[in-house]
């Protein structure tokens, strides 16, 4: 007879000395690992809960300004430099790693422009009218200001090389497109967003909305998308080529949205609002994925997303600039390979089971200050009432007389060329 009985040599399965690592032979046969889906579900539930446990986004508060922080500026190449300007004319240069002020200057109320590291400005340009916004070209030595009209300046000249007007008495902000570097967008006080090409002599076109836009930000990855922060508590992402309908309407704030900035990946953006919160939205979703608030943070005037995609900086009314994590539950610093593997696995599990009701409920849960929570509920009720009344009117009138208007089309009044 031929016989073989299973006999394992313990030397192959037990470690030799206590200084070795343990041996773990693997067999991926599915019959040895039953209940794959329920066990993964349990792990995904744990991962989601732990994410909420570790979601502590607030990092630091930069104290020092003596009036509300009005604007922030990122350094194009240095991650640790930040410039902030306050309402009383003080401009501070911060070193974020040590969180101290590197430079300090008192000046008239003017907006920030990146110049030399000295205390005294390199150049002072006196303009005929008040300036409300400023932005620098990506590569050339050209910058644009807006006030009563949009002016394009050269750094060496003391008068604008080109001026754009379109019958609006004031513009609130101007931005250069980081990809198509000749394009500009500005927000006018007649509830419009005007697009310009620097090479032409007249503006390109403008879109007029129901309420005024405060700020505009271009998507750094997609040349033709820009997001506008509007007074009617929403943000609108437009495709520059089709201004008649926004690509996306982002609704979640309960008060006017004051500032918006894109992440360097172009997939998300952060918005600062007059209700004392900042929200992070994915670029293609209608609702926010994250909301940051503190009892001490009052109306947030300006917000910036750091160039390494990790931090969000917000400047608010109570003279503080706050540094937050872009991913609230992320562990900062260098992760060991096992930590990285575990984080990646948990991330994939959360993605896989994100639509299951229990997991979705936990992942979506955010604490909101009471007034914002109640305000949001009230807005929801109002919206539902309007919707119900409209559908009732439609139901009881001749079919076709009350047309269905999509949500996106409701907010644009007209496009003017």
């Amino acid at each position: 007879m031929k016989v073989k009985v299973l006999s394992r040599n313990p030397d192959d399965y037990v470690r030799e000395t206590q200084y070795d690592i343990q041996r773990v032979p693997r067999n991926y046969d599915p019959s040895l690992h039953p209940f794959e889906v329920p066990r993964e579900y349990a792990r995904a539930l744990n991962a989601t809960k732990l994410e909420r446990v570790f979601a502590k986004p607030f990092l630091a508060s930069l104290d020092g300004h003596r009036d509300g922080v009005h604007c922030l500026a990122k350094h194009r190449t240095s991650l640790s430099t930040l410039l902030s300007g306050s309402c009383d004319g003080q401009v501070k240069v911060w070193n974020l790693t040590e969180r101290f002020v590197r430079g300090n200057s008192c000046s008239f109320l003017w907006n920030l422009l990146l110049h030399g590291k000295e205390e005294e400005p390199l150049n002072t340009i006196l303009g005929k009218t008040v300036f409300t916004g400023l932005d620098h070209h990506q590569k050339e030595g050209v910058f644009a200001t807006c006030g009563q009209q949009v002016d394009i300046w050269d750094e060496q000249r003391s008068s604008p090389i080109r001026s754009f007007t379109w019958g609006v008495d004031s513009f609130s902000s101007v931005r250069f497109n980081p990809v198509e570097t000749e394009l500009l967008a500005s927000c006018g006080s007649d509830r419009s967003v005007v697009l310009y090409d620097m090479r032409e002599s007249t503006p390109l076109r403008k879109v007029i909305m129901k309420m005024r836009t405060n700020t505009v930000c271009w998507n750094p990855m997609e040349a033709y998308y820009f997001t506008s922060a509007n007074e009617d508590y929403n943000l609108y992402t437009y495709d520059m080529r089709h201004l008649d309908k926004p690509v996306m309407v982002h609704m979640d704030h309960v008060s006017a949205v004051l500032d918006v900035d894109y992440s360097p990946t172009g997939r998300e953006f952060v918005s600062a609002s007059f209700d004392k919160t900042i929200r992070i939205f994915p670029k293609n979703a209608g609702h926010s994925r994250e909301v940051y608030h503190t009892k001490r943070m009052q109306h947030v005037i300006c917000v910036k997303w750091s160039s390494d995609n990790k931090y969000v900086l917000s400047g608010s009314d109570e003279m503080n600039i706050r540094l937050w994590k872009a991913n609230a539950a992320e562990k900062l610093g260098v992760l060991s390979p096992r930590e990285r593997q575990a984080t990646n696995y948990n991330q994939k599990l959360k993605e896989k089971f994100q639509y299951h009701p229990q997991i979705r409920r936990i992942a979506r849960h955010r604490h909101l200050p009471k007034n914002i929570y109640h305000q949001a509920k009230e807005l929801r009720v109002m919206k539902a009432a309007r919707h119900r009344k409209e559908s009732n009117v439609r139901k009881h009138s001749k079919p076709g007389t009350v047309p269905l208007v999509a949500e996106k089309e409701k907010h644009v009044v007209t496009v003017v060329k």
């Binding site: 007879m1 031929k2 016989v3 073989k4 009985v5 299973l6 006999s7 394992r8 313990p10 192959d12 399965y13 037990v14 343990q22 041996r23 773990v24 032979p25 693997r26 067999n27 991926y28 046969d29 599915p30 019959s31 040895l32 690992h33 039953p34 209940f35 794959e36 889906v37 329920p38 066990r39 579900y41 349990a42 792990r43 744990n46 299951h356 559908s391 439609r394 139901k395 269905l404």
Partner: protein
């Protein structure tokens, strides 16, 4: 000399070879190594989706395609890793003319190496009654419970006695809990839980008159069947009774679990086998299996086949996924105990004879693979998880016999590792508790969570249609694009509209044809069945009930 050396370096231009790339040879085995199909099949979870959402749902379609590709890659990687598994399964082949069932255990023990030979041993414990047997999940620890109260736990490869107590009461059943730290003993009145040092940890009075127990390892649930026809579930991690059902079917002394979906199978005296989950008060399924009472039930580890033996001396194999009878064998003496090994060997015991059968469901079996006679009447059978060993508890004590080819040769170190250290066991225990599956998820199909919830979707869609007054998912009417430069004539527009309409029509026709074919197929099968039943028609058929 030097000049000729120089000359040799410069070849005439016609013979100059370019050394941009080495002379190529045809690769005799181009591409990656092929994987045998059956090995690839082993790791396949789900078939590819045939009708992916078409049209505007580009993102969803892309996601599905990408996840299918990732799944395929994972399948291939796992199949390639299979080559590296260290051990091979055991086997026993008789010489020409020799029957494997005539080979005695002593011969096998003499023919194999010493360590394997020591796995055949006998414990003579005739004082305390017939013994119940249980092996722990890793297969390293053995629990013996004698009817008259003797309970012992042994690390059987090293023959080290962990604990030995006499509970001073009759013992109905013994079972290991999740690890070798705790075990449960169903004593005369109540359920007791002991530590592996023999210390009584709990006396659970809610569980009374327990006759049989089974432990669901991934849910940390101990399911008990009592003499008062109660089926109760105890969560051993939290210590709470999860569910208790009064089955109203009499004394429950036949019980087993389906390791694939954690469903409990109970066998009754009227020949039925019922399937239970802790979420439903009634049995999920009731199957009539035997003409007499059911004596024993066993389910294989993949949850495909159920083997039952009854008072009618029959051994039946059922396909448990489709609930259909598969095979039926006649045993001259019936089988009082059944046990299935990890590799599909079935052991059946009657009186003091234990027979092991191989491939009960694939090839028709007419003789056993191995046989063994014990000294007392067999009371309990259990295959050891990762070894080629069968443990028999009988009236005269305990015997462990060698059954080559019974155990799974390659274990997974992260799941059940017989060579784990204390630290590894502690880490494993913590991870297992974190991944504990809630009892609400126990159902006949364990992959229910991965399916799309069509019912809720339909309900929600209906509510939305009522709220909006129209169907948002309805197909939009096709409006052909207005072409410039005079290419958009009335005839052209009509032609394009007709094209789209024809395609839609074709889709619909295809659908109806498919449905029709399906119905026809089903009808044919039904007629075939009917014809098979009414083969021998006779005038006396009208008197049949």
């Amino acid at each position: 000399d030097f000049d000729s050396l120089n000359e040799r370096h410069t070849l005439p231009s016609s013979e100059k070879r370019t050394f941009d790339h080495w002379p190529t040879q045809e690769d005799p085995f181009p591409g990656p190594a092929p994987i045998p199909v059956n090995r690839l099949q082993k790791f396949k979870r789900k078939e590819k989706m045939l009708n992916k959402p078409r049209g505007r749902k580009v993102r969803l379609r892309d996601m599905i395609t990408r996840s299918e590709e990732a799944s395929k890659m994972a399948q291939k990687q796992a199949a390639r890793f299979d080559l590296l598994l260290p051990e091979d399964a055991g086997f026993l082949e008789g010489d020409e003319g020799e029957d494997t069932c005539t080979i005695s255990q002593q011969d096998i023990a003499d023919a194999v190496d010493i360590t394997s030979g020591t796995k055949y041993f006998n414990l003579k414990l005739s004082q305390f009654g017939p013994y119940h047997v249980d092996y722990s999940k890793t297969g390293r620890h053995l629990l013996l419970g004698g009817r008259r109260g003797h309970v012992a736990c042994i690390d059987w490869p090293s023959k080290e006695l962990m604990c030995e107590i006499n509970v001073m009461e009759s013992v109905n059943d013994v079972k290991w809990l999740h690890s070798e730290d705790m075990f449960a003993v169903a004593q005369k009145k109540w359920l007791y839980i002991y530590d592996s040092n023999g210390i009584e940890l709990h006396c659970i009075r809610k569980f009374n008159d327990v006759l049989r127990m089974t432990f669901l390892p991934y849910h940390f649930l101990l399911a008990t069947a009592s003499a008062t026809s109660f089926l109760q579930y105890l969560d051993v991690s939290v210590g709470k009774e999860v569910a208790a059902f009064s089955t109203k079917t009499g004394r429950l002394d036949v019980m087993c679990q389906n390791p694939h979906n954690a469903i409990v199978h109970l066998g009754h005296h009227n020949g039925t086998v019922t399937l239970w989950s802790p979420n439903q008060k009634e049995a999920l399924v009731k199957m009539l299996c035997h003409q007499g009472g059911v004596r024993s039930v066993a389910v294989d580890k993949t949850g495909t086949y159920m083997v039952t033996s009854g008072m009618d001396k029959k051994l039946k194999v059922y396909d448990i996924r489709a609930f259909k009878p598969f095979k039926s064998y006649f045993l001259p003496a019936g089988a009082s105990c059944l046990s299935l090994s990890q590799r599909g060997l079935l052991s059946a015991a009657t009186g003091d004879v234990v027979q092991v059968y191989r491939d009960v469901w694939s090839t028709p079996v007419n003789k056993p693979y191995m046989a063994h006679r014990t000294r007392g009447a067999v009371w309990g059978l259990h295959f050891c998880p990762f070894e080629d060993v069968l443990g028999i508890g009988h009236g005269d004590g305990f015997t462990s016999i060698l059954v080559p080819g019974a155990g799974e040769p390659n274990f997974d170190g992260l799941d059940a590792n017989p060579y784990r250290s204390t630290k590894q066991r502690q880490e494993w225990e913590v991870k297992a508790l974190l991944e504990k599956i809630q009892p609400e998820l126990i159902s006949l199909n364990p992959t229910d969570l991965g399916e799309v919830d069509q019912v809720s979707f339909k309900q929600r869609h209906q509510e939305r249609v009522e709220a909006l007054g129209f169907d948002p998912l309805e197909k939009e009417k096709f409006v052909p694009k207005y072409k410039k430069k005079g290419r958009s004539s009335a005839g052209g527009i009509e032609r394009r509209k007709k094209q789209v309409a024809h395609e839609d029509q074709r889709d619909e026709i295809r659908k109806t044809v498919e449905d029709k074919m399906k119905m026809e197929k089903e009808q044919k099968e039904r007629e075939k069945k009917k014809a098979a039943l009414f083969v021998n028609k006779s005038a006396l058929d009208r008197f049949k009930k």
